[in-house]
């Protein structure tokens, strides 16, 4: 209605007045709507951030404060005592190092093995392409970590059980479908013309790939790699099943939950999630691309 009134020639004063009033009302409603959106946005952000704030100040309180009650929302004393207590606890540093190694091996293996498949799916029309793509997609219907139980039996036979390799191989299987789908969508995003131009100008296919495709695909590949790293860094079920003494950090924390003190657990939680905050921040621009594309 308002829209119609606006288009009429403004002859009658009353009409013009009504229009202005209508416009103002609409503008006010828009403003209120916008305001409510900001309120909702802030509340949702607080829902995510407040627990993070609480675990951070808990982890950075001295041990007697961690046990204290009631707790202060704005802490009066901060210290690294609790964090140091965690890091110096038996086995923590070794398992931290193992976690990093496992994540790096996972990252390397899944890229070396998965990225070529992603490239093939993106660039070649070949018989069986759709079938392969669908097979990879359908692996998402399976809870892959659960496969660590039969895999444990295999690894015992192979002599790989209770080593970083058993966990890394399992994590690679977990990351592989993701890597293939992501890399293929990244390579699809690299214009084919450029690659063909390089071929016409006398590059070998390998050189065209290394000099033309790789530089363009690299940021996306780096983001996908970081995501794979986080996936492995966080994974606890398979790591707990596949190790006994050679624990990764989450597996160590899980296996000691029954006996560990509260400050240890809270510092552990902070220690596990802190790197992820940084990683997610680094790849924030790629998050939608990474997951959005996979969803299609």
């Amino acid at each position: 209605m308002i829209g119609v009134a606006r288009d009429l020639p403004r002859t009658a004063g009353i009409e013009a007045q009504a229009t202005t009033a209508g416009r103002q009302a609409r503008a006010r409603r828009r403003l209120v709507g916008r305001g409510l959106l900001y309120v909702a946005a802030t509340l949702l952000a607080l829902w995510v951030l407040v627990p993070l704030y609480l675990i951070t100040i808990t982890a950075f309180s001295p041990r007697d404060v961690v046990y204290g009650y009631p707790k202060e929302i704005i802490p009066s004393t901060l210290s690294t005592e609790t964090i140091r207590f965690f890091i110096n606890a038996e086995g923590v540093l070794a398992s931290l190092w193992r976690s990093v190694l496992v994540a790096l091996i996972t990252l390397a293996l899944s890229t070396i093995i998965g990225a070529p498949a992603g490239y093939a799916v993106a660039r070649y029309a070949f018989r069986g392409r759709e079938a392969f793509r669908l097979t990879i997609l359908s692996t998402r219907a399976f809870p892959i970590v659960i496969l660590s139980i039969p895999l444990a039996v295999t690894f015992i036979n192979w002599g790989l059980y209770d080593s970083i390799w058993s966990v890394a191989l399992m994590h690679t299987a977990l990351a592989m479908p993701f890597t293939i789908l992501i890399t293929s969508s990244i390579f699809v995003g690299v214009p084919r013309d450029l690659e063909e131009a390089a071929l016409t100008l006398g590059c070998t296919p390998a050189a065209a790939f290394l000099r033309v495709v790789m530089p363009l695909a690299l940021p996306g590949l780096a983001a996908a790699s970081i995501f794979t790293f986080v996936l492995s860094w966080n994974e606890v079920f398979a790591a707990s099943i596949l190790t006994l003494r050679e624990r990764t950090l989450p597996a160590l924390i899980l296996s000691t939950l029954n006996d560990s003190l509260l400050p240890f657990r809270f510092a552990a939680a902070w220690f596990m999630l802190a790197p992820s905050l940084v990683f997610i921040f680094v790849i924030r621009r790629y998050l939608l691309g990474l997951w959005g594309r996979v969803a299609r």
Binding site: F126, L151, M176, I241, A268, L288, G292
Partner: protein
């Protein structure tokens, strides 16, 4: 697409990943069923399944797993949809909102469980705040092994906090795929917010919702770290029972029966969602 000069090249590129998935995905899957249906001397038997069904912990683990899924998924989808709409509303600092909502994407379920342990612990943050506000005068014991309701509630909170981001990201990507014209057309016809939601957003988001639902349900069947961190042995789920049978009771056959059951339930739920929520392409055949 032009003819390939190297007809074998794509196959050569696929071989490594195909072989890897055959060894570390297909084989263990077959093996899970093999272990579950065999005894130590590789004779076929239903013994492990009988042990699993008859075990005192089985029913509790199964019902808790299903209960958690039924409770968590609606909460997560409501939250994720709200977050996705906020991100898509083109507010100022839209990148910042997206980042903040996406943060839990990088947090493990074990860490999330411990974060909420700090909140729900008897001397934790929630009691501190409630008492500070004068709402309670005695500490509430949320994490009591006798009170399964509270345990489930704390797990739902932790999971809603941690695992909503992945749904949010999928929904934001889906929302961005809706042509702006659709919203403008709805505006021209004077559609209200709710009408837009029901007639434009939800139908267009259907494929994304379906994917998110499938992904989330499969992940929920594997819930493990968060349950152990908050409930200890106070309440169990299928995955924690699998872990107990493998690790504490050292019976890989019964543990494999649990994994086979989780596999079966995951695939069943996926099929259910595909049938119940067909996207337009599937409807057309």
């Amino acid at each position: 697409m032009k003819a390939n000069r190297l007809g074998w090249a794509p196959y050569a590129l696929l071989v490594p990943s195909f072989a890897f998935l055959a060894i570390f995905f297909a084989a263990p899957m077959g093996q899970a069923f093999g272990l579950a249906f065999q005894d130590e001397r590789n004779a076929w038997t239903l013994e492990s399944w009988r042990t699993m069904f008859d075990d005192a912990g089985f029913r509790d683990a199964l019902t808790t797993t299903l209960l958690l899924i039924v409770l968590i998924i609606p909460v997560q989808f409501a939250l994720a949809l709200a977050m996705a709409l906020v991100v898509n509303a083109r507010l100022k600092f839209s990148g910042l909102w997206l980042y903040v909502y996406a943060i839990p994407l990088g947090i493990s379920d074990l860490a999330a469980g411990l974060v909420w342990l700090a909140i729900f612990d008897r001397q934790g943050w929630l009691n501190s705040v409630l008492e500070g506000l004068g709402l309670i005068d005695r500490q509430i014991i949320f994490l009591n092994y006798q009170e399964k309701g509270w345990l489930v509630f704390t797990i739902v909170m932790a999971e809603a906090w941690r695992a909503t981001s992945i749904i949010m990201i999928i929904l934001v990507a889906g929302l961005q795929g809706i042509p702006r014209d659709y919203f403008e057309a709805a505006d021209v016809f004077g559609a209200t917010f709710w009408q837009k939601g029901r007639r434009v957003i939800l139908p267009m988001l259907r494929p994304s919702l379906q994917v998110a639902l499938i992904l989330r349900t499969i992940l929920a069947f594997q819930a493990f770290g968060v349950v152990v961190a908050l409930a200890g042995s106070g309440t169990t789920v299928l995955a924690s029972e699998a872990y107990r049978w493998y690790y504490t009771l050292r019976d890989s056959h019964v543990a494999a029966a649990y994994s086979a059951l989780i596999l079966f339930l995951s695939v069943l739920s996926t099929i259910l969602f595909l049938v119940l929520l067909p996207t337009r392409e599937e409807q057309m055949g």
